[in-house]
Amino acid sequence: VDALHERLESIWRTPPGLAALSGVNHSTIGLRFMASGFVFFLLGGVLAMLMRSQLAFPGNRLLDHQEYNAAFTLHGTAMMFFFAVPILLGLAIYLVPKMIGARDLVFPRLSAYGYWCYLFGGILVFSSLLFGEPPAGGWFMYVPLSNLPYTPDRGPDFWLLGITFAEISAVASGVELVVSILKTRAPGMTLERMPLFVWAMLVTALMILLAFPPLILAGILLELERAFGLPFFTPARGGDPLLWQHLFWLFGHPEVYIIFLPAAGIVSAIVPTFALRPIAGYSAVVLALVATGFISFGLWVHHMYATGIPHVSLSFFSAASMAVAIPTGIQVFAWIATLWNGRPVVRTPLLFILGFLFIFVLGGLTGVMVALVPFDWQVHDTHFVVAHLHYVLFGGMVFPLFAGLYYWLPLVSGRQLSELASRLVFWLIFVGFNLTFLPMHLTGLLGMPRRVYTYAEGLGWELLNLVSTVGGFLTAAGVAAFLVDFVLQWRFGPAAPRNVWRAGTLEWSIPWPVPSYNFASQPHVESRDPLWGSTKSSAGYLDHADVSRREMLVTSAARAEPEQVVVLPGNTWIPLVAALATGLFFVGVLAKLYALAALGVALTAAVLVVWAWQGGPRPAERDMEAGLGKRLPLQFTVARSPGWWGTAMALVADAALYGSLLFAYLFLWTVSAAWPPTGFREVGLALPAVALGSLLASSLAVYLRRYAAAIALAALGAALETGALSASGLSATEHAYGAVVFTLWGIELVHIALAILMAAFVLRRAAAGYSDRHAAAVAGLFWHYTVIQWVAGFAVVHLFPLLGA
């Protein structure tokens, strides 16, 4: 066993020293995400303390209005984009493979690339401080304020580009987690045996794929308007500021649940352990998670009650906003029932969970209150909403996160938790939090608006604000104490036995120090809490002694039956280089050095080709002995490889992006007087129809594996449509109509270019003597999607205007 361990460790480990930056192992990447996320948490916290200090007294002059506006903008941005989502994704990246009996995530280089994009994006946003141009339009960046006439400095550009850069990582993690969870669970771990944390992450990851694209699109559109004058949001030229709000909250509300569901997963992992019994109502909790995921996409307008939307629509969104309390309530009752039935042992992690339940339920109650339109109109944009959102987000996410950090620390550190200090941490944060935000409900009801850098005396807000400030500093002291306690516990605690909490899930079967490959022998799972069942023989999969590469099982999505063996790439500098090249693009756009941006795109494409070229099958090898008498094919030889699944998931996000743009088109149509605007010449139908036909034919050619013909047909189609649009005299800058039409086609052009690149890759690869079926399957999938996307685009661009005529 030791010899096998040495051998596996030498294959899987992240190298020491500077070369660690080339590491792709999920444990390494997960911890990096979490450490970086915590740094942003501290940054956001410092900004919060600055704001609380400023508001301690009326007319305080610690910060001026610019500094204060930048502070709340960066506070929200850091907490939502650079702390909450990344740290939870980091936790999932670290834990999910260990919980499902896998050795790594299925796209290790993608996680590494995502991490670097996240880190660089965060640095880009915060570097605006060094240039003295921080974004100051709020984390929601509403237009018209953040549009060029009203904010001519580069603050919004730093924000838009940095966030879009960082969101690559969220989408990458979404793809990564969905495919890993569906396709790499240990044999026998059917969907109904999956730990609830993994269920929560599956739903979250799917939500990310649908929710982040609207934000990315909104960012692209606003940057196009700010940099090139495409008037998506300018009413005088057919745009509409409300389009921004729709796109932003189409992302922004699911985002709240993208943050809450993983936290709920943490709670569902911890509660059974300390109640000493399985979770009550497992199926109900799973259904609640899925239902929350669905409903969360029907709530976004409740952020826009005060924008003058018709009452009928408001009633719908009000009802949906109240309905989402139901699945959340189901989970709360499941946790209470589990504790009720068991014999809870109140250790620090459970203490934080109890704090969560108390605070989160209060936040849920005020949530139902603000879901009511008339009540919301009273408290809209007051400190009442600030109090509500911190009760649900700090209560609903930070408390479970801290519970989870204490809970899983022994797994990573190999040391037991000492309770005394960590209980002090809990009480500091719990008391501090409530002291800050409980009075704030009242401040808001007394009429104090949000986002004000100062306020006048005599309005009855003085004492409440002072109390909130004192509470804020108490919370900050609690967080500082947490940091010290956590590091000390990590370094100096007494040694812990394996599975120190006697939990039931697979990650606790892993010895300490955590092997980089997690499981020397991939287990066969026979129950929901495998460690609580009878201890079976340790025989498993892929534990042959002559292993020489990163091998892992791929199983079927629902039943988890062994299907393939995937050979994962080892450590490589490619993700870091790719992220740097991507960064060149964003910096180029920010600095308006478009040649530099183009160079960034070219370099990124080149690096991605090298990326795809890495690895590859040994010519003669088609299948291998996987252990327990199974002979399984390698991923290169099957069409439905993990790569195909990953492409399919990425295309879900892609379709959400394009769908959001189609939504933008239809939304602007509904608010416009004439569409297309009068005086806009029609684009003739003949050329575009031929172009579409040419693209459809290219799809057929790809199906028949005539890649050269397909490339020629696609290029012809692209040229014809581009020619038709430019010959029509349609302008992208005169009116929002032209702006949307050109953007619809521009995104399609990018897809066609990528599809051609992929087909050329397949040709080149075959010429080089590789026989990988999966590459052709991936290229084909992307190609067909590209063509179908333009079928939708064509219908909107060329047929829709005919309806009105």
Binding site: H65, L145, T307, H380, D381, G447, P449, R451, V452
Partner: protein
């Protein structure tokens, strides 16, 4: 969306404040609504339709001259003196208001001087330049004039 309707059931003074974050001075964007009985409201409307009253004393007359000499009338309307300037608030009946600077300062001659001389310090980012270079007498005369515009 740009029109705000309010229903008041009782006469009195009501304070409102900008809710949606609107930029630099979002914090200092308040307003006061005075609710009157119908006949008092009619009287107020009639008064409001009148052009500005002429200065009633010497200092106010000097202030009006300063108002014109300093170019205040390039942006501000005072009906009967300078008309149809839309870039800045109409000052025809400015003395009838309780507050200036969008609910920021009490409308007293002393505060008007502060607003004229150091307004950019009170509300950084406002469109009107500060007139701190004027001597105290001119500022005082301007304040007298504005306080005279009942």
């Amino acid at each position: 969306v740009t029109r705000l309707r309010m229903q008041a059931d009782r006469p009195g003074l009501y304070r409102g404040q900008c809710a949606e974050f609107c930029g630099a001075q979002h914090a200092l964007m308040a307003f006061h609504v005075i609710v009157l009985e119908p006949d008092a409201f009619e009287r107020w409307l009639v008064h409001l339709r009148q052009p500005a009253q002429s200065p009633t004393h010497e200092a106010a007359t000097k202030g009006r001259d300063a108002f014109l000499a300093q170019g205040c009338g390039n942006c501000h309307t005072v009906r009967g003196v300078v008309d149809s300037r839309l870039a800045a608030p109409d000052l025809t009946h400015v003395a009838s208001r309780g507050w200036i600077g969008a609910g920021t300062l009490k409308n007293t001659p002393e505060q008007i001087v502060v607003w004229l001389a150091q307004g950019e310090a009170v509300k950084p980012g406002r469109a009107m330049p500060s007139f701190g270079h004027l001597d105290a007498a001119t500022l005082g005369a301007l304040a007298d004039y504005l306080a005279n515009l009942e």
